[in-house]
Amino acid sequence: MARLLPTPLLIGLLAGPLALGGCAASEGALAAYDSGYASGAEDLGEAGDDGGAGDDGYAPEEPEAELGRPPAATPRYVFVANTDRDTVTRIEVATLAVITAPVGAGPTEVIVSPDNSVAAVFNEGSDDLTVLDTEALSQATVGLRPNLNQIVMSGDGEWVAAWHDGALEDTSVGATSYNEVSLVHLGRLDHTPLIVGYNPRQVRFTPDHQRLLVVSDDYLSIVDLTADGLEPLRVRIAADTLDAPVAEELVLTPDGQTAIIRQFGATELVVVDLVTGEVGAIAVGDNPTDIDVTPDGTQAVAVARGSNELWIYALSDVFAEPQVIVLPDAVPFGSVLMSPDNSRGLLYSTASGAPAFAAWDRAAPIEDSISLYGLLKGVAGMALSPDGKAGIVLHQAGANGDLDSASPFYNRDALTLVDMDDYFTNPIRLVAPPEQLASTRDGGLGFLTLEGTASLLQLDYARLIHDEVPLSSAAAHLGVLPEGRTVYVSQEHPLGRISFYAPDSGDLQTITGFELNAAIER
């Protein structure tokens, strides 16, 4: 699913003063869970196959796609990784001065530390990390374990973890273990290899920056970053060792002490005490396919697609009785998206192909809180503008639903803009599949790139109007500068090309050939 908002996990991290206070599971709940483990898998409900259909017959929902990765930017610079040219380009926002620095082979990701002093460049081709001083561009290189393809940085900018994300294309060579994570301390420039559970699904740092968490198929690995040795505590989260349900997602309580893990095809959520390693469980209906933390960080919301239910938990006491809302059974819902003010949620499914979504009004009585709305085509992803006043629905070309073959949208990629006040929709036919989406911080405009297309689509969220900004070549990476409303979009060009678009003035400034700058000899 597409999200403009930070991921639910990230919401947990950013949710201001956290709701601290005891949230350790009650002994009774843990004891019940322990006995469930001892007595066998049948007490835990049926488990779905890894990646296969659950009880409801549908595949897992699309994971929260990163249609708009945060730009690798400081207030002063934007960093762009040039994968094909083994370089990173730093663009000074004020002057558009460009400096390109050689890094390792095949850089795919750049992350800037929160204090803007360091940029970590993941070089997938050479299996290492380039640590750049964002001002001086001096650099150091730290080797990583081979065949990794994803990185994440801790919130304090001290650590970077790299792992192999099975959702991405596997280009591994040689003998490969899918149980590995590389952990790098950016200050000491040292690397610690870790063995975690098979097939890491999600890797994140706790909000207090004290732990690294790795959710794998059937393990949660916890690394205490404050301890010597950095040994992972591997906590089994699947009792059934032969046919374990696959863990897909993890959310944290606001104090960062407890993790809630969703498994596909299960009937319970696994609750892990990150301090003691104790494992418990809470009921979640049938086949939970999505779980998010509300923007205020006080609740976790899970969608049980198999039983068509919404389960709401208080993160201050996850073992307390949850609130359960029965959803209309006309359409299967598998994903949930919360509005920034927590007043509404959007429910939809990317797996069923149903051309519909539901709006959840949290202020309304439960029996009247869910309203169903139809769409032109099935949903491939959904997002909200930063102020929550507009929704963006992405549709796949082939998800035609009941669409007449004579429709101009039949077998065409499309998106729908939704006015969140009255849920009025404006479907827009696209010329190619959407790739990246970014929005201005004021929530007024969104920008979309399309696969292989030399244009930028500007979305006016208030008026539901779209405009096309032509580019010189196909767009590659998109982002909005930290301040103001200027958009940067790198494009395909053998010598490097990036454009800066100011929507208020309509000015488009393009720099081409910046890769040559790395080869200038002085």
Binding site: I511, T512, G513, A519
Partner: protein
């Protein structure tokens, strides 16, 4: 830098049925043959003189290939041999101010130091080498000598007149002459005010040298355009300051075609062969930006905006777009587009009048007169496609040579060469027909009058066309059939004639006076060539 020595080749003898002639000490306008005893015959290795006159100031230089000498001829009849210390001139290039000229010169060297060897022919063939140098001559005297390898074939001059730059331009054609081991990418800076030459290797074939200007008006940096890279050099020290690559892959060859220094020396703009990009090299921030253009650039020129304002912009014309674009000198953004009927690749500017035309088409005949103040485009039409266009010294007239129109419109002029004359701001042009192709053309302004002077192929006369009354061409009788023509600084012209013993005439269009100098080519005609310098000179 070492003198460049190479083994000299003894070329085939030019056998001519000539009478043996004594060296002429005095040259007059009379026929020298009449004073000689007609006996025997002699073989000449090369021509007695070259009719490719080189004008410098108010005089001309004439090469005598056979004698290996250089003569200075003046309109007053004076003939002086330029002292080259025994070296033979290969090429003469005048300085822009006309006060001096550079001479590429060579001389034979015998590696055998036997003092009995005096003549070139006495030196064993395997010991015969060749030295090369560059001489700066003022009048008939040498004011400077620079040791220069034989492969250099091009000189460019800095606008401030302080520096000459020598390099090998492959576009000049032929094979470079290499003496021993040579760096053919070397560029040599020659300080004209004195000082040793400084050489810098640019790493690839240099094509053009541009200059930046400091606040004191001196050309402080040279921007050397080479294949796939641009090198910026400190003129005073020949230190390489910055090297800008034009491609990332060494297998990619990028050839700069059009280039200029813009933005007050801030940028170097260049268009590349066959490309639709405009490279903008930031000479201050040392960065590169490439801008995609709508078409293939065929014209890149600096445009002066606003009379006396000092504001400049960049003019871009295209091979495939019928338009002229004006780019802001600093931001490179297009500020204006002049839509035309066909593409143009040449331009001239006179004040706030821009003249644009195409010189590479057999079809296009339009000449566009653009008022830069009002942006009005006045379209004029030449009778036939233009091959060249230039402005008179007073800027009042645009004069061009027209070729035959291969796709004619049935006019009487289609198959004829022609002359295009346009008085700027005064309406229609005058298209004149010529009986044959011009072999020499010069514009001349004498006093208040402007003329175009023409030599036509196979025609023994010079034609003077008063540009204020172009339809009335005046033929001027010449002492012999002309072969070439050059213009002197004062508006007179020097004309070379097809005369084996040398004949040059000077013509003043103001009063139609013609004066001639003849017989000068017999200088040292029968003198056995001696070794001018020893091997250690």
């Amino acid at each position: 830098m070492l003198h460049a020595h190479r083994r000299a080749a003894r070329g085939p003898a030019l056998r001519a049925c000539l009478l043996p002639l004594a060296t002429l000490a005095a040259l007059t306008g009379c026929d020298p043959w009449s004073r000689l005893d007609p006996q025997g015959e002699a073989d000449l290795d090369e021509a007695l003189w070259s009719d490719q006159l080189v004008a410098a100031g108010d005089r001309v230089y004439v090469r005598l290939p056979h004698a290996g000498a250089l003569l200075e001829l003046a309109p007053d009849g004076a003939v002086r041999q330029v002292d080259l210390d025994g070296a033979a001139p290969e090429q003469v290039i005048p300085l822009p101010d006309g006060e001096a000229a550079f001479v590429f010169a060579r001389w034979p060297i015998c590696a055998d130091d036997d003092e009995d060897i005096v003549l070139v022919d006495e030196c064993p063939e395997d010991a015969l080498e060749e030295g090369s140098e560059l001489r700066l001559v003022s009048g008939h005297r040498t004011s400077g000598t620079y040791a220069l390898a034989p492969h250099f074939n091009t000189l460019q001059f800095s606008p401030d007149g302080q520096t000459a730059v020598a390099f090998l331009d492959p576009a000049q054609g032929g094979y470079p002459e290499v003496s021993g081991v040579a760096d053919l990418t070397e560029v040599v800076f020659l300080p004209l005010g004195g000082g040793a030459p400084l050489a810098v290797s640019t790493g690839s074939s240099p094509k053009q040298v541009l200059f930046t200007t400091d606040d004191e008006g001196r050309n402080d940096r040279a921007v050397i355009l080479s294949t796939s890279q641009v090198v910026v050099v400190d003129v005073a020290t020949a230190e390489v300051l910055v090297t800008y690559p034009l491609a990332l892959d060494v297998d990619t060859v990028i050839v700069p075609e059009q280039a200029l220094v813009a933005g007050g020396g801030r940028y170097c703009l260049l268009a590349v062969d066959g490309g639709r990009e405009l490279y903008r090299l930031d000479l201050v921030n040392e960065s590169i930006d490439i801008e995609d253009l709508e078409g293939t650039p065929a014209l890149l020129a600096e445009l002066q905006l606003g009379e006396g304002s000092g504001e400049v912009a960049t003019l871009v014309g295209y091979d495939d777009i019928a338009a002229l674009d004006v780019l802001d000198g600093l931001t490179n953004e297009r500020v204006q587009r002049f839509s035309l009927d066909h593409p143009v690749n040449r331009s001239l500017q006179e004040g706030q009048t821009l003249i644009a035309w195409s010189s590479q088409s057999d079809i296009y005949k339009d000449v566009y007169i653009i008022n830069l103040d009002t942006a009005e485009v006045d379209e004029q039409r030449a009778g036939n496609p233009l091959r060249s266009l230039q402005l008179s010294d007073d800027g009042r007239f645009a004069v061009g040579e027209m070729g035959p129109d291969n796709y004619g419109d049935g006019s009487a002029q289609d198959n004829l060469h022609g002359l295009f004359v346009l008085e700027l701001g005064e309406g229609q042009p005058t298209n004149l027909a010529l009986s044959s192709a011009p072999v020499g053309m010069a514009l001349s302004t004498r006093g208040e009058q402007s003329f175009v002077l023409l030599l036509l192929d196979g025609d023994d006369q010079l034609y003077k066309v008063d540009l204020s009354r172009p339809s009335f061409a005046v033929p001027v009788e010449l002492p012999a059939p002309p072969s070439s023509l050059v213009r002197l600084d004062d508006g007179r012209v020097a004309i070379a004639h097809a005369s084996p013993l040398g004949l040059v005439s000077f013509y003043d269009p103001a009063n139609d006076e013609v004066s001639s100098i003849a017989g000068f080519a017999t200088t040292q005609m029968l003198v056995e060539p001696t070794l001018p310098r020893r091997a250690d000179n």
